[in-house]
């Protein structure tokens, strides 16, 4: 065990040396800024780093001079002063103090002031608004205005569990890949509203230079204007439970035309889904579709085999809720039934009504009742879910 670890360690250090050179361009500082805010942050950061390094080097040099020269072993006789004695000495000791005040409040303080004003300027001239909702452990996005108004979706980690468990080779974007990317048009100022449904999260894309908490029950905001097209990746950075390391953010910044095309695509998909909700599905089709939905959204907690992680995440296999009736005699949704739990959530279980469409919900419920070791045998039609809206 120890030898194994040592071997790994030596190997690791060697690989490091090689790859450090390879990655040199982004390893030593903030990532390439993609927004004005990130550019400003990088600029301020670089400036401050230079300042503090100069302070550090100067002070260190003084210390080293003293350590080298004022040694007992060299026979240096100690002075006896214990403070500034003459007026001019007092004045001289005030010089570093004054320099530091200048650095703090002028050299660093003034650019920092402007950065803050810029960072907090979410109010003026926003071109569009996107609402970001954090929940354990995924992000939900909703376009509140503009051409994309009404588009909303959930964004799940797509890195397979076997990569995390070292059973498979890790992909290029290990832990930084999701199924549905947030798409924003390049050069447009996007007001980002943040909230959460369970605990505090923090929406952070390093290349954007903005990070803001998403707080349950409260609304916060920040803004981004991505000037460079590309795909940007970030992560939640407020500890939010066991999946904290597994709720990444992926943003595609695209040209106006591509954005319009994307919006049209999404709207077509929405229409198709809504049309799909009106037809009657076969059990097989629902189970097949439900499995896809389950793997993406549910398996994180309830596990791929439905065994869950009790006590926080109950097993679905053999679960009373997943095998009980869904509707009462009058055809109304039974409180605390299977569909109620999926649709409305409870406690740690999120409410899926906001982010999954009728077909997805019907499919996943049908899947859970007829797979994962359960065999209730009934079918929930998307139309029945639609009727709850």
């Amino acid at each position: 065990m120890v030898m194994h670890f040592l071997k790994k360690a030596v190997l690791g250090v060697m690989m490091t040396m090689i790859s450090l050179v390879a990655h040199a361009e982004y390893t030593w500082n903030f990532p390439m800024p993609a927004t004005p805010m990130a550019a400003d942050t990088l600029h301020v950061h670089n400036k401050f780093m230079v300042i503090v390094m100069i302070i550090f080097v100067v002070v260190l040099a003084i210390m080293i001079y003293s350590i080298v020269n004022h040694r007992k072993s060299k026979g240096y006789k100690a002075a006896t002063f214990s403070g500034p004695s003459t007026k001019s000495q007092v004045l001289w000791t005030l010089v570093p103090f004054a320099i530091l005040m200048y650095i703090d409040f002028i050299l660093m303080g003034i650019p920092a002031y402007h950065s803050i004003v810029m960072m907090e300027d979410t109010k003026t001239n926003a071109d569009m608004v996107i609402k970001v909702t954090g929940s354990q452990w995924r992000w939900q996005y909703e376009y509140l205005d503009g051409e994309a108004q009404g588009i909303k979706f959930v964004s799940n980690l797509t890195t397979p569990q076997d990569q995390i468990d070292n059973q498979a080779d890790k992909g290029k974007d290990y832990l930084l890949e999701v199924d549905n990317h947030l798409v924003v048009p390049v050069g447009k100022k996007v007001r980002v509203l943040l909230t959460a449904t369970d605990v505090i999260h923090n929406w952070w894309v390093p290349a954007f230079g903005s990070a803001r908490d998403a707080i349950p029950g409260f609304l916060r905001e920040t803004w981004v204007r991505v000037d460079v097209p590309g795909t940007y990746r970030g992560q939640c950075k407020e500890l939010c439970g066991k999946g904290h390391g597994f709720m990444p953010i992926v943003v595609d910044a695209v040209s106006a035309e591509d954005y319009t095309k994307w919006v049209a695509d999404q709207k077509t998909k929405l229409a198709a889904a809504s049309a799909g909700a009106d037809k009657t599905w076969t059990k097989e089709d629902l189970v097949a579709h439900g499995k896809e939905v389950y793997v993406k959204n549910c398996a994180v907690c309830h596990q791929a085999n439905g065994q869950g992680l009790p006590p926080t995440f109950p097993a679905l296999t053999g679960s009373k809720i997943a095998q009980g009736p869904i509707f009462d005699a009058g055809g109304k949704l039974l409180k605390d039934s299977h569909l109620d739990r999926v649709f409305n959530g409870k406690g740690v279980m999120p409410a899926w009504k906001g982010v999954l469409n009728d077909t997805d919900i019907a499919a996943v419920v049908t899947y859970e009742r007829n797979a994962l070791g359960n065999s209730v045998g009934d079918v929930l039609q998307p139309a029945q879910v639609k009727a709850l809206r």
Binding site: L60, F105, K242
Partner: protein, 530 residues
Amino acid sequence: MSYTTTANHDEHHDHPTGIMRWLTTTNHKDIGTMYLTFSLIMFLVGGAMILAVRAELFQPGLQLMQPEFYNQLIGVHALVMIFAALMPAATGFANWMLPLQIGAPDMALPRLNNWGFWLLPPAAILLTLPFTLAMFGIGDGAIATGWTFYAPLSIQGGMGVDFAIFSVHLLGISSVLGSINVIVTILNMRTPGMTLMKMPMFAWSWLVTAFLLIATIPVLAGAVTMLLTDRHFGTHFFDAAGGGDPILFQHLFWFFGHPEVYIVLLPIWGFMPQILQTFSRKPMYGYKAQVISLWAIGALALVVWAHHFFTVGMPVPALLYFMYSTMAISLPLAVLFFCWIATIWKGSLSFETPMLFAIGWIVLFGIGGLTGLVLADVAADAQYHHSYFVVAHFHYTLFAGGMMGVMAGVYYWLPKMTGHMFSERLGKLHFWLTAISFNLTFIPQFFLGLAGMPRRIPDYALQFAEFNAISTVAAFVLGLSQLIFVYNIVSCVRGGKKATDRVWEGAEGLEWTLPSPPPYHSFTEQPIVK
């Protein structure tokens, strides 16, 4: 006028031996020894926890543990290191050295002193017990919210949170009792002639610390109590559903949490100039300026708390206020640095182990302070916040500025406490291994943070792999070199070259006028300070 037989109730029935001696002792040296021993044990416990974490982070992917357990380890590591290693170490030094330095026969409230210590082991057990219980299938382990208890995650958490809350209550009571004792000792027990402005710097720094403690620990106690009632008794202090606000918890927590940083560091700023002057053979520079700076920092510490959570979203004026007031702390701190360096300037320096640690401490703590100055900038903080940059920063302040300071103190006073010299060779080896591996552990973490690695994640993207590998290897060297420290202490306690009364050639102060080790009841003759 002599209080030869002072306040020592033990004297009548002599002190008991064996375990009862330690359970019932009211002797400041015994209690100091217990605090320091406790601190050392918990330092190793907390260190072992974080080595497990570092081993997990050695490579991407989950190798050794699941995220739930990982989250428990990081939080308990921090709580153990802050509350059970650093704070007791400072209290241990206060117990041992304050009465000796101010010429008092003992601490002012000896019985309180005993209670204060004996609250600690139960607190430590409460904190770590959930780990053991989970092994037997009871509960789901220790607190997994990080050491900050942020609501609503802590409201959602399992019984580990309750254990941690009770543990913090006990630790808090212990600190408050200790602080009251320190204040009374310093104000009432100084030997004749020792005016406040003649006190050793250590006494001054502890006076500030103690006032900070009694002003802020109760706020923490209140905050975690509210958390407890939110969890179990249906209140909604931190729950929006009932009109509460989770951010209120952060305000309450950091109202305590920021001063806490100084609570941990101030005692070290107290004895460090004494070490520097000893090995520079030159009087301390700027005594008055240092005293004023200590108080200024203590006062500023109470009004800057919100810089720990700039990213929650605050109005611009609040951001500006907390940024500028945080930057203002650099001013008195710079005065201290200036005085420390001016103390060694033109001294006649020699580099025994305590001095090595003191010099290394100034340099490394300087890095912690300077990165703190950068962190005060709100805009850049949006990037640094909760990234590894912050992790590196506070380890420069709390490991280099805290632990290495404590180590300097241990090496400085160990011969006085035990009567034996420790091994200089091992001490120096310990210093160099610690200083080098510490930097190799945490410098990569600065770059990890800049590159965008969030803290408190059990697994990470591939571009962070190299630096994490270096950091882990160095962390293991750092951890293992602490065993040299332990060995050196143990062998010094057991025997070794006899220490002289003065121990160090340039040592000044009342504690060095007593024999090494000092007698069980010191200052039976009241010393007179001119």
